[in-house]
Each structure stands twice: as structure tokens, then as C-alpha cells.
């Protein structure tokens, strides 16, 4: 699979940027013609990953979040969302539905939602170095009847 297009951005881990980040990735993905439902899936998964960087990676302190999004030649979107924060000690446990380290208002569903709305989710993490989440989704090609 070859990369045909790419964009990179970074921004401060302010919660106000959650909406910006998911909208930016959705706008980039528009060139492979996703349906409204696919756009919504992408926005939701990106929002979960960015929220994890803010809440868990940087623990509500300021840091930088890095997003790199790529279009692959088989109509696939690949998004990497990275922080240089706390890291995840036990990735397997972090990915279990309803597991959360913060309790209270967090449902513990972030990774479950990413996995349910994207084709593939992979996580790389090192303690005190940070976490990179890679989300992949193939967009079903559609053909216009108006040619």
C-alpha cells in the first residue's frame, strides 16, 4: 500500500482542541469520499484518542499532541495520534471495555469505541515517554450515477 497524501499537525492539549482535531481529520478524509456515517465513525474515534492524550497522557496539564493522517492508495485512511506524556503501563488492560484509571465521569470506553468504529487500532506506548495510537479505516468506494 502506498501513501498518496499526508498531513501533519500539532496542537496544545487543551480540551477545546478536541473538536478542532476531529474536524480537521474528517475534512482531510473527505477526499476519499466517505459516507456521513463513515465520517461520524472517524470523528468519534479521533475524538476518543485525542481525549486520551489530554486526560491520561498529559493528565490535564499542557503538552503537545501530534496528528499525522495519511491516505493510502486502496482508499484507506490511516491516522496516528501521539502524545509525549505518561504512557500506558498495561496496554491490554487499558483496552478492556469499561476499564478506567480515572473513574468518575469517564466511561472507560475509549478504546472499545475506537475498535468498534475503525477497521484497526494499534497502540504503542512507553512509560514516561508517551503513547501513539494508529487508527485505520478503509472507505468503501462509491461511484457517482451522474458520472
Amino acid at each position: 500500500m502506498e501513501v498518496t497524501n499526508r498531513f501533519n499537525m500539532n496542537f496544545l492539549s487543551r480540551s477545546a482542541n478536541e473538536a478542532f482535531a476531529r474536524a480537521a481529520v474528517a475534512a482531510f478524509a473527505a477526499q476519499i469520499d466517505p459516507t456521513l456515517e463513515e465520517i461520524s465513525d472517524i470523528k468519534t474515534a479521533v475524538s476518543e484518542a485525542v481525549t486520551n492524550c489530554i486526560v491520561h497522557g498529559y493528565k490535564e496539564k499542557m503538552g503537545k499532541i501530534y496528528i499525522s493522517a495519511e491516505i493510502l492508495d486502496n482508499n484507506t485512511l490511516r491516522v496516528k495520534i501521539k502524545d509525549k506524556g505518561a504512557g500506558i503501563e498495561n496496554i491490554k488492560r487499558a483496552m478492556e471495555p469499561l476499564f478506567t484509571t480515572v473513574g468518575g465521569e469517564r466511561a472507560g470506553l475509549g478504546f472499545a469505541v475506537m475498535q468498534s468504529f475503525m477497521d484497526n487500532v494499534s497502540v504503542r506506548s512507553a512509560k514516561d515517554k508517551g503513547t501513539t495510537v494508529t487508527l485505520t479505516k478503509r472507505i468503501t468506494p462509491r461511484y457517482s450515477i451522474n458520472g
Partner: protein, 107 residues
């Protein structure tokens, strides 16, 4: 994002609108909790019809309000959810805690 609160007898209605994420959930939580505290309803209805985006922060918002209400034995109903929101609510088992009505205009 906004919350419109309406009170009819012992029922508190919370009409949510806009995008519901980790950023906006904090504000919505405060608005709903102060209405619960002030009115002590027997039923809270959270309406999602005008929510244009929701991630799992919406699930956290519902679960938190459910916990809050169950202290006084009050009941939670959820209305106007899209298919995608329902999928997330089901994942969290919210359908076992509250009555959930999907959007009437869903195809």
C-alpha cells in the same frame, strides 16, 4: 453546546444540543446536576435529538447522572438518540439502566 432545562411537576427535562465531548460534557454535567439538586425529580429525561456529535464522554455523562439519581431512587429516561449513539450506549450496558428511545426520524 448547550443544555435547556425544563421542569414539569416532578420531571426534569434536559434538552442537550451541539457537540458532546470531554470538553463540553463538564458544562452539561453542571447544568443537569444543579437542576437535579434544586428540583429533586422522580424522573430525569435526557434528550439527545439535537446533539450533532457524541463520543464516549456522552456515556460518562449519562452514567454519572444515573448514579446521581439512583441515590434518591429517581429514574432516568433517554430520548432522541441516533443509531450510532445507541451503539455506544449498548456497549456500556446503559440499556439495562435506563429506558432509551431512538430518534423518530431514523431510517
Amino acid at each position: 453546546m448547550a443544555v435547556e432545562i425544563k421542569i414539569k411537576g416532578e420531571v426534569v427535562y434536559a434538552y442537550l444540543s451541539g457537540e458532546l465531548d470531554h470538553h463540553s460534557a463538564a458544562f452539561m454535567r453542571q447544568a443537569i446536576d444543579s437542576a437535579i439538586e434544586l428540583n429533586m425529580p422522580t424522573l430525569l429525561i435526557m434528550d439527545f435529538e439535537n446533539i450533532t456529535f457524541m463520543d464516549s464522554s456522552g456515556i460518562g455523562l449519562v452514567m454519572g447522572r444515573y448514579r446521581n439519581l439512583s441515590k434518591s431512587g429517581a429514574v432516568l429516561n433517554i430520548t432522541g438518540v441516533s443509531r450510532q449513539m445507541y451503539k455506544m450506549m449498548e456497549m456500556a450496558g446503559l440499556n439495562r439502566l435506563a429506558k432509551i428511545e431512538q430518534q423518530s426520524n431514523e431510517r
